[in-house]
C-alpha cells in the first residue's frame, strides 16, 4: 500500500466574502460584493416564498408564478428580461425550492443598472393576462411531464415528500400536480403577487464588477420607492409531528429500468446546531469515490450502480435521504440490507480522524470552487439570507464544519437515522 497523500484542510486559504449588507426603509435587504476582475456582474433577487407556501388546492403555484414573472409588466412586454440579458450576452433564470424563489441574471457590467431597474419593475408592477397565463401553465405542465414523467425515477422525489410528511406542506413538493395547476386562475396570480412579492420579503444581491455606493444608489432609486403593505406576510406554522413508525411504499414505473430505493429520515431545519454535523455525515457516507456507500455498495460488493446521500436541509425541518439504484441482476432486498449495514456502522462507531480530515478538505475545496463565479457568490449570499436568516453564515461555515468531531457525526446518525423515523420508497420496474 502506497502512503495516502495528505494536506490539512486548514492549509487551504478560503478568503471571506467581503460584502456590504444594508436594509432599505421599506424593508428590502440589499447585499453588494464587488469583484472587478472581469467586466461582468450577477444579480440574485430571492423571495421568501416557495412550494410550501402554495395556496390550498394549488400545489405547484409558487413555481408556476415564477414562470409568470417573465410575462411582462405595465411598462414592459413579455420576455423583456430575456431581451435585456440574452441579447447583450448575459443570461437569466430562476428556480423555486420548497422555501424560496430566486431570480438571477448575469450580464456585462455596463448593464447592471438596467437589470436592477427591470427586477424592481417586475416586483412593483407585474401584469399577467389570460392568454400568457394559459400558455405558461402548459409550459409548466410540460416541465412536469419532462422532469417527472419522462425521466427515469422522476417521481421518486415527489413520492418521498408525499409519504415522509403527513401534515407539513413540504408533502406537496414544488412542481405540484397537473390537476391543481389546471385549477389555478388569474385571480390567484394577483393575490399571490400582492401577498408575497413585497420589498420586506426579498433580498437583492449584486456580485461582480460594480462600485458599491453607485450600486446601492441604484437599488435605492429603483427598489426604494416600492411600498410595503402593512399586512403581515403569512408564514407556514404547521409542525410535522414526530414519526413513530417506519413507513414503506412501493411504486412501479414502466420507465424504471432497475430497482431503486430511497430511505428518508426527518432532520431539523438548516439553522439548527446539528446541521453541520449532518452535512459531514452526508459527506462521510456519500461524497466522492472514497465515501462509504461508494466504496462498499458500488465498488466492493457491486450491489448498486449508484448510491447517494443527501442532507436536504431546509428552512423548516427537512430530510436526510439515502438513495440507491440496483446493479443489473441484483435484488433490491440484498442492496437494501447492505445499505442498512452502513447505517448501523455509522451509528455504532464514530468515523476515524483520517476520514474526517478527508471530508474537511473536500468541504474547504468546494467552498473555494464555489467562489469562482460571480453568480456562485451571489447565490450563496441570497440563499444564506433567505434559508438560514443571515448572510454572515457564509463566512463562518468552514469553521463550523472544521469543529465537527467524530462523536458529533455518530451522535447525529444515532439521533436521526432511526428505523421509526424512516420512510422508504421502493421504485420498481413495472
Amino acid at each position: 500500500m502506497t502512503a495516502l497523500p495528505t494536506i490539512s484542510a486548514s492549509a487551504i486559504h478560503v478568503s471571506p466574502f467581503l460584502y456590504v449588507d444594508r436594509t432599505l426603509a421599506n424593508g428590502l435587504r440589499a447585499i453588494v460584493i464587488p469583484d472587478r476582475r472581469v467586466p461582468s456582474a450577477a444579480i440574485n433577487v430571492a423571495y421568501r416564498v416557495g412550494g410550501k407556501d402554495d395556496p390550498a388546492g394549488r400545489s405547484g403555484f409558487a413555481h408556476l408564478f415564477e414562470h409568470l414573472m417573465f410575462k411582462g409588466t405595465s411598462r414592459t412586454a413579455p420576455e423583456t428580461i430575456d431581451r435585456l440579458t440574452e441579447d447583450v450576452g448575459g443570461f437569466n433564470n430562476a428556480f423555486t425550492t420548497e422555501d424560496i424563489t430566486n431570480y438571477y441574471e448575469v450580464i456585462p457590467s455596463n448593464h447592471l443598472e438596467r437589470l436592477l431597474w427591470a427586477e424592481a419593475d417586475r416586483l412593483a408592477s407585474l401584469t399577467v393576462n389570460e392568454a400568457n397565463f394559459a400558455t405558461e401553465r402548459e409550459v409548466v405542465i410540460g416541465e412536469y411531464d419532462q422532469r417527472i414523467l419522462a425521466e427515469p425515477y422522476g417521481l421518486l422525489d415527489e413520492l418521498v415528500n408525499r409519504e415522509a410528511y403527513r401534515v407539513h406542506p413540504y408533502r406537496r413538493g414544488v412542481i405540484g400536480s397537473p390537476a391543481e395547476l389546471n385549477a389555478a386562475a388569474l385571480d390567484d396570480v394577483v393575490a399571490f403577487h400582492a401577498t408575497y412579492y413585497r420589498p420586506d420579503n426579498a433580498v437583492v444581491v449584486v456580485a461582480g464588477d460594480c462600485d458599491v455606493e453607485e450600486t446601492f444608489g441604484w437599488i435605492e432609486r429603483y427598489f426604494g420607492r416600492i411600498p410595503t403593505p402593512s399586512s403581515p406576510i403569512p408564514r407556514v406554522r404547521v409542525v410535522e409531528p414526530p414519526q413513530t413508525q417506519e413507513r414503506s411504499f412501493t411504486h412501479r414505473a414502466a420507465n424504471a429500468p432497475l430497482p431503486a430505493l430511497e430511505e428518508a429520515y426527518h432532520i431539523p431545519e438548516a439553522a439548527h446546531p446539528d446541521a453541520p454535523a449532518l452535512e459531514v455525515l452526508e459527506a462521510v457516507l456519500g461524497a466522492g469515490r472514497s465515501s462509504r456507500l461508494y466504496t462498499t455498495l458500488v465498488y466492493e460488493r457491486q450491489l448498486v450502480t449508484s448510491a447517494w446521500a443527501s442532507a436536504d436541509l431546509r428552512q423548516q425541518p427537512g430530510l436526510f435521504g439515502l438513495r440507491i439504484t440496483c446493479a443489473r441482476g441484483i435484488a433490491l432486498a440484498d442492496a437494501r440490507w447492505a445499505l442498512h449495514e452502513e447505517v448501523e456502522r455509522v451509528c455504532s462507531e464514530p468515523p476515524s480522524e483520517l476520514e474526517l480530515e478527508r471530508v474537511r478538505t473536500q468541504i474547504a475545496s468546494a467552498l473555494v470552487r464555489a467562489r469562482q463565479t460571480n453568480n456562485g457568490v451571489a447565490m450563496a449570499l441570497a440563499r444564506a439570507t433567505t434559508e438560514r436568516g443571515d448572510p454572515a453564515v457564509v463566512n463562518t461555515d468552514l469553521e463550523r464544519y472544521l469543529a465537527v468531531s467524530g462523536a458529533d457525526v455518530q451522535r447525529v446518525a444515532r439521533t436521526y437515522l432511526r428505523v421509526e423515523n424512516r420512510t422508504a420508497i421502493e421504485y420498481l420496474p413495472a
Partner: protein
C-alpha cells in the same frame, strides 16, 4: 406611463475583458505544454489531451476508448482503485478521465497546496495503469447498467439513434459508450493495447494553469511527465470519413412505454477547422437558447414542450448539427413540422444584421463566462489544441463572431440546415407514425429490435467491414 416611476436606464459604456495569455513549450519527449497564469483564487487545473478517441475504434470494439479512460482511475501498478479514490478525496481534488470521439482527456484540479500531489496522481494514472481483470469486469458491469438507464431515457436514446442514422458506419456513428454486445466482448488485453499504443507524449498536450507562474507550470510538467517515453509504433490515425449521402427521412423507434416522445433532427455539417465555423456558430445561436427561434416557436408560442434547443458541436470531422425537444406523443407530428419549418426559416425569413447583434452577443457572452473559471480557461485552450488551431485564436474568437454577417448565416443555413435532414423520434409510434408516413419517408424500428451496434440500426443486418483495422495502423 407617467406614475413617477423611473424609466429604463440606458446601458453604460462596455468594458473590455482580459484573457490570460497562453505560453507554450515542447518537452524533449514530444509532449506539448501550454501554460497560463490566473491568480484570483488558490486553484490550479491541468488537462492532458491525448489525440486518440472513440472515432478510431473498430465497430465491434465500440466503447473501447471509453473503457480505457474509465479504467485509468481504477488502479495503477502502485495503487488500487480504492487507494486512488482515497487519495483524490483526501486532497479535495478532482481527477477525471474520459473519452470523446476526437480525443481522450485526463484532467485534474485542486487547491494550490494540494496541486503538486494531485498532479503526481494524474501522472501515475496516465503512465502506469494496471488494468486488472477484476477492474475491467467492474467497469463492464457498471457500463452495462448505465446503458440500460440511457436506453430508458427517450431524449438520450434519440440522440444516439440520430448519430447512427447520420453517420452509419463512419466515425462518430457508433455509440461512444458501446452496446451491450460490444461491451461484453472487450478484452483486458485490448484495453492495455489501446493504452500502450495511443497514450503517448508525442501525441498529447498538457494544458496547465491557474494560481502559479508559467515557469512553475512548466516545471510541474517536466518534473512529472518529462520522463514519459513514446513507443516506436505509429500514432493514432482516424480514417477519412465515409459519411453516407444525407437524405430527408424519418426514423422512429417505437417505445410505447416511454412517457413522452423525444424528437431530434440531425444533419451532418462542418468540422471545427472550417472557415465557415463562425457562421455556423452564429446560425446555431439564432436557433437556440431561450430567445432562439426554436424555443420561441416550440415553447413560448405553442407550449409544445418545456424546452427545445439546437447544437453544433466542434469536431475534427464534419459535426452533426442537432435540434431536439421532448413532447407529448400526440403532438409529435406538429412538433416535427414546427421544428423543420423553424430551421427553414433561416432561409425563408433570414435574420438581418440587426437581429444578429443580439444573437452574436449570446455567443460572445457565453465565451467570456466560459473563461470565468480556471477549468474553463484550460478547456478553451484544450479545444484549440484538439483542433490544431493556433492558441492566439482564443482571444480572436469574439472578433471572428463579430465579423459574421447576415448573408453568411443564410448561406450556412441554406447549405446545411434545410435539406436532407434526418428526423429521429423515440416514443409511442402508434400515436404519430401513420400521420407522418402520409408525407414523409418513414421507417419504424420496434424498440426491442433496435441495435445501435449496427450501422443499419436494426438487429439481423450484417455489419459493414470495420473502417479502422487495428493492424492497419501498425
Amino acid at each position: 406611463m407617467n406614475d413617477g416611476a423611473p424609466v429604463m436606464p440606458a446601458p453604460g459604456p462596455p468594458r473590455d475583458a482580459a484573457i490570460p495569455a497562453a505560453v507554450e513549450r515542447t518537452l524533449d519527449n514530444g509532449l506539448r505544454v501550454v501554460a497560463f497564469e490566473q491568480r484570483n483564487l488558490p486553484l490550479i487545473a491541468a488537462q492532458l489531451i491525448v489525440g486518440c478517441g472513440g472515432a478510431a475504434e473498430r465497430e465491434e470494439e465500440a466503447g473501447l476508448s471509453a473503457m480505457v479512460a474509465a479504467l485509468l482511475t481504477q488502479g495503477t501498478t502502485r495503487r488500487s482503485a480504492t487507494e486512488i479514490a482515497a487519495a483524490i478525496d483526501a486532497l479535495g481534488a478532482r481527477l477525471d478521465a474520459g473519452s470523446g470521439y476526437d480525443a481522450s482527456v485526463v484532467s485534474v484540479s485542486a487547491t494550490t497546496p494540494a496541486f503538486g500531489q494531485s498532479f503526481a496522481l494524474l501522472n501515475e494514472i496516465v503512465r502506469a495503469p494496471a488494468f486488472l481483470a477484476r477492474e475491467v469486469e467492474r467497469v463492464r458491469t457498471k457500463s452495462l447498467s448505465d446503458l440500460s438507464l440511457t436506453y430508458a431515457n427517450p431524449s438520450a436514446l434519440a440522440r444516439l439513434v440520430a448519430y447512427r442514422a447520420a453517420y452509419a458506419g463512419a466515425p462518430y456513428g457508433h455509440p461512444l459508450a458501446g452496446t451491450a454486445a460490444t461491451l461484453a466482448s472487450l478484452e483486458r488485453d485490448r484495453v492495455a493495447w489501446f493504452h500502450e499504443r495511443f497514450y503517448r507524449p508525442d501525441d498529447a498536450t498538457l494544458v496547465i494553469g491557474g494560481d502559479l507562474t508559467v515557469d512553475e507550470a512548466f516545471a510541474f510538467a517536466e518534473g512529472e511527465l518529462g520522463s514519459w517515453r513514446a513507443p516506436d509504433s505509429p500514432r493514432c490515425a482516424v480514417p477519412d470519413a465515409v459519411i453516407p449521402p444525407p437524405r430527408a427521412r424519418v426514423v422512429i423507434v417505437d417505445k410505447a412505454e416511454s412517457g413522452r416522445t423525444a424528437l431530434t433532427v440531425g444533419g451532418v455539417t462542418i468540422p471545427r477547422r472550417s472557415p465557415d465555423y463562425a457562421a455556423g456558430v452564429v446560425a446555431n445561436a439564432v436557433l437556440t437558447g431561450y430567445s432562439g427561434r426554436v424555443n420561441q416557436e416550440i415553447r413560448v408560442k405553442r407550449g409544445l414542450s418545456y424546452s427545445a434547443s439546437t447544437s453544433l458541436p466542434a469536431r475534427r470531422l464534419p459535426a452533426l448539427f442537432t435540434a431536439s425537444t421532448l413532447i407529448d406523443h400526440g403532438r409529435a407530428v406538429e412538433a416535427t413540422e414546427v421544428m423543420l419549418a423553424t430551421l427553414r426559416s433561416l432561409v425563408d425569413a433570414p435574420a438581418g444584421d440587426d437581429d444578429l447583434i443580439s444573437r452574436k452577443a449570446t455567443v460572445t457572452g457565453g465565451f467570456y463566462r466560459g473563461i470565468e473559471t480556471i477549468d474553463g480557461i484550460a478547456s478553451a485552450l484544450a479545444e484549440h489544441v484538439l483542433f490544431d488551431l493556433p492558441l492566439d485564436e482564443l482571444p480572436r474568437f469574439p472578433g471572428r463572431i463579430a465579423a459574421v454577417d447576415a448573408s453568411a448565416v443564410r448561406r450556412f443555413a441554406a447549405r446545411w440546415l434545410v435539406d436532407d435532414l434526418c428526423v429521429t423520434l423515440v416514443g409511442d409510434a402508434s400515436r404519430f407514425a401513420a400521420d407522418l408516413a402520409r408525407t414523409r419517408d418513414v421507417r419504424i424500428i420496434p424498440g426491442d429490435q433496435l441495435d445501435l451496434g449496427s450501422p443499419a440500426l436494426e438487429a439481423e443486418v450484417v455489419p459493414v467491414p470495420p473502417l479502422l483495422d487495428a493492424d492497419a495502423v501498425s
